[in-house]
């Protein structure tokens, strides 16, 4: 197996991009069957991870606060509440 990054370490976008590249490479059709199968396995792994992420997605909010010494610090913030009405 080629040197692949751990799927969980990829961002959603990186994983999507890699998946798209794998599909394109496979679609180009000039690949050894072994490589194809290896890529396919990687693609399935990426797909699974992406689906899980979509299913488990939770909003992440942080707030940039000024510390006492004046430097900025990221603090975890509260995500939006569950109500679906928008106060426009």
């Amino acid at each position: 197996m080629a040197d692949y990054k751990n799927v969980d370490e990829l961002t959603y976008k990186e994983a999507t991009t890699e998946l798209e590249l794998i599909i394109r490479a496979l679609e180009s059709g000039d690949m050894e069957l072994e490589t194809s199968l290896e890529k396919y396995a990687r693609g399935v792994e990426l797909l699974k991870s992406l689906r899980t992420r979509l299913a488990d997605a939770e909003q992440k909010v942080s707030v940039l606060l000024k510390d006492v010494d004046g430097t900025d610090r990221l603090v975890e913030g509260t995500p939006a509440d569950d109500s679906d009405t928008l106060n426009l």
């Binding site: 496979l26 396919y40 909010v61 707030v63 940039l64 900025d72 939006a80 509440d81 106060n87």
Partner: protein, 483 residues
Amino acid sequence: MAGWDLTGSSSSASGAEKAEALTVSQAAEMAAGALNTIPRITVLGEVTGFRGPNARSGHCYFQIKDESSALDCIVWRGVYDKRLFDLRDGLQVLFTGTFDLYKPTGKMSFKASSFTLAGEGLLRQQVAQLAEKLRLEGLMEPERKRHIPAFCMRVAVVTSLSGSVINDVKRTLRRRNPLVELVCVGSKVQGQGAPAELIEGLRRAASVVPAPDCILLVRGGGSFEDLMTFNDEALARAVAASPIPVVTGIGHEPDNSICDMVSDRRCSTPTAAAESVAPEFSELVAALDQREQRLQNVMVSQVGNAASDTDAASERIRRAMRTYLDRLQLVVDNASTRPCLTDPTNIIDRRRIELSQTLDRFVAACDRVQERYAADLDRLAPRLLSSTSSFAARRHALDLASSGLRGAAAQLLTEPQSTLARDAAALDALSPLKVLARGYSIAYDGDNRVVTQVSSFTPGDELRVRMADGDVFGTVTSVSTHA
């Protein structure tokens, strides 16, 4: 009017009224005079009923009003031609001029000799001028606007953290795409110091690590004055110069600030801005479904292709092998019908026959050659014999010539021998050695030269004397000459 008393008032009173009564013209004149005493003033009012300059005269007739009053207003053509902006209804304008009474109608008007925008109108004009300035600098060129990723994973929001806007943004993105990570950067969005805080907020947002994909600069709806913060020149320049692309969503739909104009993407509201930075969740799901389908399709077709390739290859190799074997079979079959294999002794027999024929020819040829040499020999023998018959006579002639030659040679030598003996005796008599033998000698000097005169010597010279049987060496002691 005389004699009528319709009101029942006294005639004296009526007489007094009569005496004090003025004509309309007089009254109008009086009013006009009173109006003329009012100095040049400046009036702030909202333009209303403005229908543009009069088609014929070019003068403008309209009203200016506030909450409770209205005034007719005239702007002469000459004044209106020098205007900096077009008058229209609703504008708050400062008119400077004087009152005037138009006597034929008795209408009082305010004649403006100059007018300038006031309040919001003035602000709007200043904003328009700033916008024009920045546009001329190229800050609004479409090619300056940076690309904002279709799916921003990390988004910084610069706005007030206490208002409802930040919650709207959060909720919009939570509903639309919870994968988007939000970094909230608080700032005042209106009032004194707001532009400076927003500029600082943009700077802080841009220096967050890891860097956000874009910055949302948002603010909810408000009055024109409230939104003036976003028409600040320094803030507009900070938006244009931000190292991270900026998406603006300021106020409501018709509001358009200078920040909107110089940003990389302008959205009409904070919610619209939030929606523009990431695709709908369902789109992601659809995209993922599509990718899964493509992955399956391509793999099925790849494996299918590989299988059919393998089948085709196996069929080809089978056929190729068959053909090859058939050809070999043919070669073997052909070989097996060759005479060398079907009748091997045949070759030997044929060779044997050829050999015996050759032998017969050889023997016959030998016999013929032998016979020819024998015949030649028989013919040559008598010729040889006959060729020796003259040999005896020639030998006798040779013997005779040989003895004659010997006698002639002896005779040829006798005469020269006697001459030679005579000459030798004479030569011997003349030899100096013979003279030496008779008692003479030869003198030589040191240089081996023969000396014939005594004057050649001086005492002390080397001297050699040759005699018949040898030499005498000596030194000259004295020299004397014979007289």
